[in-house]
């Protein structure tokens, strides 16, 4: 429903301002990130340009951009420890289904400065929107706050209110960091162009994070050939134990 609603809003806006149709062109520094054995995190740069409508004759407008990079969606569970019979034990928990495992929100200016709360929430921009409580159980806000805090501490979520820079009036660039514990799968960079707080164009581009070569084969074996993988690991343990016993034999 939500994408449909967003489309409807965009269509309305397009109808309201037919003369000013800007277009976005974006490109990424890499389409695929391969995680090899020495992977310790990496940066991806997104370049883009705003193509003004050639028909338009008005003065150049001031643009704002919000770039949202999302990793594969997953269910995140936040647990809270409470003292129980003298011990700190996980008690309450909240689930956040269909939540991006990786999330970077980069913008030209702080979101609350450039957008009205309605537009910001309607377009679900920013970390707060991603961690908003779901369903009938709205829960305590502490869980949403904890989710943002913990994901940020793990380097998986980040918000950079000045992360997008215009190199000239139409050319822009932003760089986001993928931490060493980055999840695998399809990522999406969603670029939205605003002018005076109103969305005027949108473009998305995708890239993939994959395990490379050896790591990929090991992970695939462990997942798809579970018994064989387990037996092979057990045999390896025997080989190690036997080698050590022969190498260090003293009797």
């Amino acid at each position: 429903m939500r994408p449909l609603a967003a489309l409807a809003v965009l269509a309305l806006l397009a109808a309201a301002a037919p003369a000013r149709a800007e277009k976005l062109v974006v490109a990424l520094s890499s389409q695929q990130i391969a995680i090899a054995s020495n992977y310790a995190g990496g940066d991806i740069t997104l370049f883009g340009a705003v193509r003004a409508d050639p028909e338009s004759d008005g003065a150049p407008r001031r643009y704002d951009l919000v770039v949202t990079v999302r990793g594969p969606g997953t269910t995140l569970e936040v647990r809270e420890k409470q003292r129980t019979a003298g011990l700190w034990v996980n008690r309450e928990r909240r689930r956040f289904p269909r939540t991006p495992s990786y999330l970077a929100t980069l913008s030209t200016r702080p979101l609350d400065v450039m957008l009205s709360p309605e537009i910001r929430d309607g377009q679900r921009l920013g970390l707060k929107a991603a961690a908003a409580p779901r369903g009938e159980d709205l829960g305590r806000p502490e869980f949403s706050e904890a989710l943002i805090r913990l994901q940020t501490a793990r380097g998986l979520w980040r918000e950079e209110p000045k992360g997008v820079v215009f190199l000239d009036p139409t050319l822009f660039r932003t760089t986001f960091h993928l931490p060493p514990n980055v999840p695998f799968g399809a990522f999406e960079a969603d670029v939205r162009l605003f002018s005076a707080g109103v969305p005027i164009a949108r473009e998305t581009i995708t890239f993939r994070v994959v395990k490379s070569g050896f790591e990929d084969r090991v992970a695939a074996l462990a997942e798809n050939w579970r018994l064989a993988y387990g037996v092979a690991t057990a045999l390896l343990a025997l080989a190690f134990g036997w080698t050590a016993s022969v190498a260090f034999r003293r009797d």
Binding site: Q82, R95, F143, A146, F240, D251
Partner: protein, 306 residues
């Protein structure tokens, strides 16, 4: 130097992991224990997910138990029949343990179950060993024969008695199988071999001679940990073979130095040191359980990212 662990899905410092496993291997060679109760918490501490740490520690314990068992085998110091009876329970216990591990992980209580178990087990065994070794050290006489622990008469009255020639005991199979189930269960849940549980019970309760007890316990640990490796791999897909290789490398080398150092110390001194070590690790877990955490919240992924 970083290396990426394909199952734990995080990079670790190779030298740090090898250094840790060398140190734990030294301790395990020194005391003749597997060292799982030290290594698993250390792995969790450096950020390896609990499930992967516990599962990847199993092949390492199997490897070091195999090295030990081979040298006892050459000296004919393994009671195969006793090991077999313990194993009958051990493999069943391991299966139960892997299942319980999974259930607790799903319920979000795995960390607290592991912490409480460590406190109880390490506290109890460490406490008993500490009092025993202090008594012996203070007397400075050759150690008195181990006293019989209550319940012995009950064990004597159980049916299904078996004669174990090499261990020179005649005892019912029921408590032995039960002991095997317990050690296998605890081993699979906590990522430990359970030698520090098995050896004292065999010595003090079943009165197995010290000469065969270590070899027999190693044989039992070897098979249960091989079973745990295969079961964790098939049920949870959480065995990280790259991590296991690092642990086996460091562990097997460190153990050799530990064995040499251990020969320079007397039995009572070794037991006192081991008791203090067990109590220290137990206390570390106790603090974690009772102290107010700086961050009461934690986040985990319940569904695999698609």
């Amino acid at each position: 130097m970083q290396i990426y662990l394909p199952i734990a899905e995080l990079p670790v410092d190779v030298l740090l992991v090898i250094g840790m496993s060398l140190a734990v291997g030294f301790v395990s060679g020194l005391f003749g224990i597997g060292g799982g109760f030290l290594m698993t918490p250390l792995l969790i501490f450096i950020g390896v997910p609990t499930a992967v740490a516990v599962a990847s520690e199993a092949p390492q314990i199997a490897a070091s138990a195999f090295t030990g068992a081979l040298s006892y085998w050459r000296r004919r110091a393994i009671d195969l029949k006793l090991a077999g009876v313990l194993l009958a329970g051990g493999v069943a216990g391991t299966g139960l343990g892997v299942w319980f591990f999974n259930a607790m992980r799903a319920a979000g209580q795995l960390e607290v179950v592991i912490a409480v178990s460590y406190v109880v087990l390490l506290g109890a065994i460490g406490g008993i060993m500490l009092t025993e070794s202090l008594k012996t050290l203070l007397k400075t006489k050759p150690s008195a024969p181990a006293r019989r622990i209550g319940g012995r008469s009950l064990i004597d009255r159980l049916p299904l008695k078996l004669r174990f020639k090499q261990s020179m005991i005649y005892v019912s199979a029921i408590p032995l199988v039960g002991l095997g189930v317990f050690v296998g269960f605890v081993g699979a849940v906590l990522g430990i071999g359970g030698g520090f549980l098995l050896v004292p019970v065999l010595v003090y309760v079943f009165r197995v001679p010290t000469a065969v007890v270590v070899g027999t316990s190693l044989a039992q640990i070897l098979i249960t940990m091989l079973a745990a490796t295969v079961l964790h791999a098939t049920v949870n897909a959480s065995v990280d073979v790259v991590l296991a290789i690092l642990l086996m490398l460091g562990g097997s080398i460190g153990a050799q130095f530990g064995v040499r150092a251990g020969q320079k110390l007397r039995g009572e001194q070794l037991r006192l040191l081991l008791a203090l070590l067990l109590l220290a690790v137990g206390a570390r877990f106790l603090v974690e359980l009772v102290a107010e955490p700086a961050e009461p919240f934690s986040v985990s992924t319940t569904g695999r990212p698609k």
